[in-house]
């Protein structure tokens, strides 16, 4: 059971935390109700809560709540540039289909 980030993503997460003025790490969460059933959410995390599982990857603290973990297990978070856009992209082995907008996925 793990979630990881690429070195590029880690650099961006650290940069974002610095700009924000600190924080414990990054929360990777799953919300229901998107086009394809589930949607990703990325939030800054202040403190871990009791149901959280913690991972460390490339020196970054990642928090995933227990309910979300089965859906994102094995996911690698990458930072990519597409045209003028840049942002985080999920490489989730559990997702069987992504919706056209990429915000949500199905398992």
């Amino acid at each position: 059971m793990s979630v990881s980030v690429t070195p590029k993503a880690a650099r961006q997460i650290r940069k974002a935390l610095d700009q924000r003025g600190g924080g414990f790490g990054l929360r990777v969460a799953i919300k229901t109700s998107g086009c394809s059933g589930y949607a990703y959410a990325l939030e800054f995390a202040e403190t871990p809560s009791p149901d959280d599982l913690q991972f460390e990857s490339e020196g970054v603290h990642l928090l995933v709540d227990a309910k979300s973990l089965p859906l994102v297990d094995g996911t690698e978070l990458d930072w990519v540039r597409e045209g003028l856009n840049e942002g985080f992209k999920f490489n989730n082995p559990n997702a069987t289909a992504n919706c056209g907008c990429g915000e949500s996925f199905a398992v």
């Binding site: 919300k31 959410a41 990325l42 289909a97 056209g100 199905a106």
Partner: protein, 636 residues
């Protein structure tokens, strides 16, 4: 794929809701509905797992409306109350339908439509299409679990305005919101284009149940441009069935068949045809209405010989489409096969031979159109982020659109082959002094004279403030929406009065008519030009006559008696010539040119005769303005 950003705790944006939208392939023989689910377009099946819905509607004695394969079975027993291939009738006039070609009773309905007399009353093709669409809509809502935002419905590429409008009406009747009508070949290209994402020029060969369409599309940086379309709206898989029926009947000339057997024969032929796509021989069996079972052995080779003329009929439109687009068969980067009839090996072979390459067949030819429509519907419903695989579709208007100007001349506002949607505006002015209304006559065609073009609509702009001729500025705007429907508006620029019309022609243009109109425009380019120049000279002459007439009335006192006589003579000469123009209507370009030269000579003479008079009027005006005023007053 959208990229994510990190949000503050608890502030992550809620994912957007998926809006349910479907693509519907409303076919002649079968219809399908598809939707994008989890990013993938999929065809939606009914409760029994069937995806194809036969476009057959049966009106039962108890008032029930039965649609689909059940109706197709009932067609055997009750052909008169079962309507199949209604798409062939949509937007058509009774004269277009060959007698005896359909097993049910056709009768005129309204000014230019047809209806089928059934026990549930006379049903128009729109009613039948609406019944099919309603079933597909219900199927989609059941499968997707919610109400639909809208649907993209496909139509053959050269459905004319009346047929497109009828399709929209049917959807409305079925309670569906039409996001857009989409050309079937374009839909198929979308289905393929997104999957393979290769750029180039593609031919779409769509041999459906009742229609044959060929379109050349250019796909470039995600933009589809329709280069040309061609086809035959009376050729399809049904004709292959009919061919097989004729062959079958000719095998046993002693056995007689009548109208009651038509549906059974068609069904038997369809079964035989379908199995011949995989097998090499089949026994075709059909039970006559009195129970007599007739059988015949048919081999694929025999079937291919019988249907060779039909396959060859598809090659003509293919060549014409290439010629229109100015492309050689080897300039095509790929060919896409659409329509169940393209499963027939002889069709595939013919296309392969024509282009010298094997066509694309990765997507089920029955489903490609519906899948493409679903992708488009997904985008139009707003389920795809802007700029994310943003697909733009460009179609062209086949003939120029314009308005009638003085002298019966057609002034083009939107030239042919302009990509739609489009809007163009042009300014026009009044012809007579004090003119307060203007009739706008919208015409379609390439010819110079309105009488040779097709009239689409007429309306009048009223409330133009009285001004001298040529001072009013009337802006006429033509707008063609993405469905190819035209709206025209006219507004007077100083007062802002305006009027507007939606053009829904009562009858439309078939492909042949368009081609014929273009040919005649090319053939008669010379005579058109001569006619136009003559008309322009006439308009000028008439304007001059009006002006002189007005001047004579206003300043008769300034005329010298001798001068007056000369002017009246010159006016008479011009008026006589205009008379000749009006009733003679010189047909030959040479005669028209002679007439125009005469007109020019007499109008020049009239101008010369009035020169001194005009100068005196001018002087009198200036004197009237200047007299009794100091230089300072005037300078300020």
């Amino acid at each position: 794929m959208a990229l994510l950003q990190i949000a503050e705790p608890g502030r992550a944006a809620a994912p957007h809701q998926h809006r349910l939208a479907v693509g519907i392939d409303l076919g002649t023989t079968n219809s399908l509905v598809a939707s994008v689910r989890s990013g993938l377009p999929t065809v939606l099946a009914d409760a029994g797992g069937a995806t194809l819905l036969p476009s057959v509607v049966h009106y039962a004695p108890d008032g029930m409306v039965i649609v689909g394969s059940e109706a197709r079975v009932l067609a055997l027993r009750d052909p008169q109350n079962t309507i199949a291939s209604a798409k062939r009738l949509i937007g058509r006039a009774p004269a277009d339908i060959a007698p005896g070609s359909l097993p049910y009773v056709i009768q005129p309905l309204g000014p230019s439509g047809v209806g089928v007399a059934t026990r549930a009353g006379v049903k128009s093709p729109v009613d039948v299409a609406a019944d099919v669409l309603r079933v597909l809509g219900q199927r989609a809502e059941a499968a997707l679990g919610g109400p639909l935002v809208g649907a993209v419905i496909t139509v053959p590429a050269y459905f004319d305005d009346a047929q497109r409008q009828a399709t929209k009406d049917a959807a409305q009747q079925a309670g569906l919101t039409v996001l857009r009508l989409l050309n079937e070949p374009t839909a198929a290209a979308i289905a393929y284009g997104l999957d393979t994402a290769s750029e180039g020029v593609y031919a779409v060969y769509d041999l459906g149940g009742g229609t044959f369409d060929v379109s050349l599309l250019r796909l470039e940086r995600g933009v589809f441009e329709v280069l040309s379309t061609n086809g035959d709206s009376m050729l399809g898989g049904d004709d292959f069935d009919a061919c097989l029926v004729r062959w079958f009947c000719s095998q046993e000339p002693a056995i007689e068949w009548d109208g009651r057997d038509a549906a059974a024969l068609n069904a038997a032929a369809r079964r035989a045809k379908e199995s011949l796509s995989t097998g090499t021989a089949v026994t075709m069996a059909c039970e006559r209405h009195d129970g007599l079972l007739v059988q015949a052995h048919v081999t694929r080779a025999a079937f291919e010989v019988e249907t060779k003329p039909l396959v060859e009929r598809t090659l003509g439109p293919l060549r014409r489409a290439l010629r229109d687009a100015g492309i050689k068969p080897d300039g095509i980067d790929g060919c896409v096969l659409v329509g169940g009839a393209t499963r027939m090996p002889q069709v595939r072979q013919a296309v392969t031979d024509f282009f010298g390459r094997a066509p694309h067949t990765e997507i089920d030819p029955d489903q490609a159109v519906a899948l493409g429509a679903a992708i488009q519907a997904d985008q139009l419903a707003g389920n795809r982020a802007v700029g994310d695989a943003g697909l733009l579709l460009l179609d062209v208007c086949p003939l120029s659109l314009g308005i009638e100007t003085m002298g019966g001349l057609a002034e083009k506002v939107i030239p042919r082959n302009t990509t739609v949607p489009t809007a163009r505006a042009q300014e026009f002015t009044t012809f007579k002094d004090g003119q307060t209304a203007m009739a706008i006559h919208v015409v379609q065609g390439e010819r110079e004279l309105v009488s040779e073009c097709r009239s689409l609509a007429r309306f009048t702009l009223r409330g133009i403030p009285p001004m001298v001729a040529g001072a009013a500025r009337i802006r006429v705007t033509f707008q063609i929406d993405a469905d190819g429907l035209l709206s025209v508006s006219a507004s007077e620029q100083t007062t802002g009065v305006q009027t507007h019309i939606e053009v829904k022609p009562s009858y439309g243009l078939g492909h042949d008519t368009v081609a014929q109109m273009l040919r005649s425009a090319i053939d008669s380019a010379e005579s058109d030009a001569a006619a136009r120049l003559l008309r322009e000279a006439e308009v000028d002459a008439r304007r001059l006559l009006d002006a002189v007439d007005g001047a004579l009335g206003a300043d008769e006192s300034l005329l010298l008696p001798r001068e007056q006589f000369a002017i009246l003579c010159a006016m008479q000469d011009v008026a006589d010539l205009l008379e000749t123009c009006a009733d003679g209507e010189a047909a030959e370009p040479a005669a028209q040119k002679a007439l125009r030269d005469d007109l020019r000579r007499t109008t020049d003479a009239l101008n010369a005769a009035t020169t001194e008079f005009a100068a005196r009027r001018m002087n009198a005006r200036v004197r009237a303005v200047l007299s009794g005023r100091s230089l300072d007053e005037i300078a300020s």
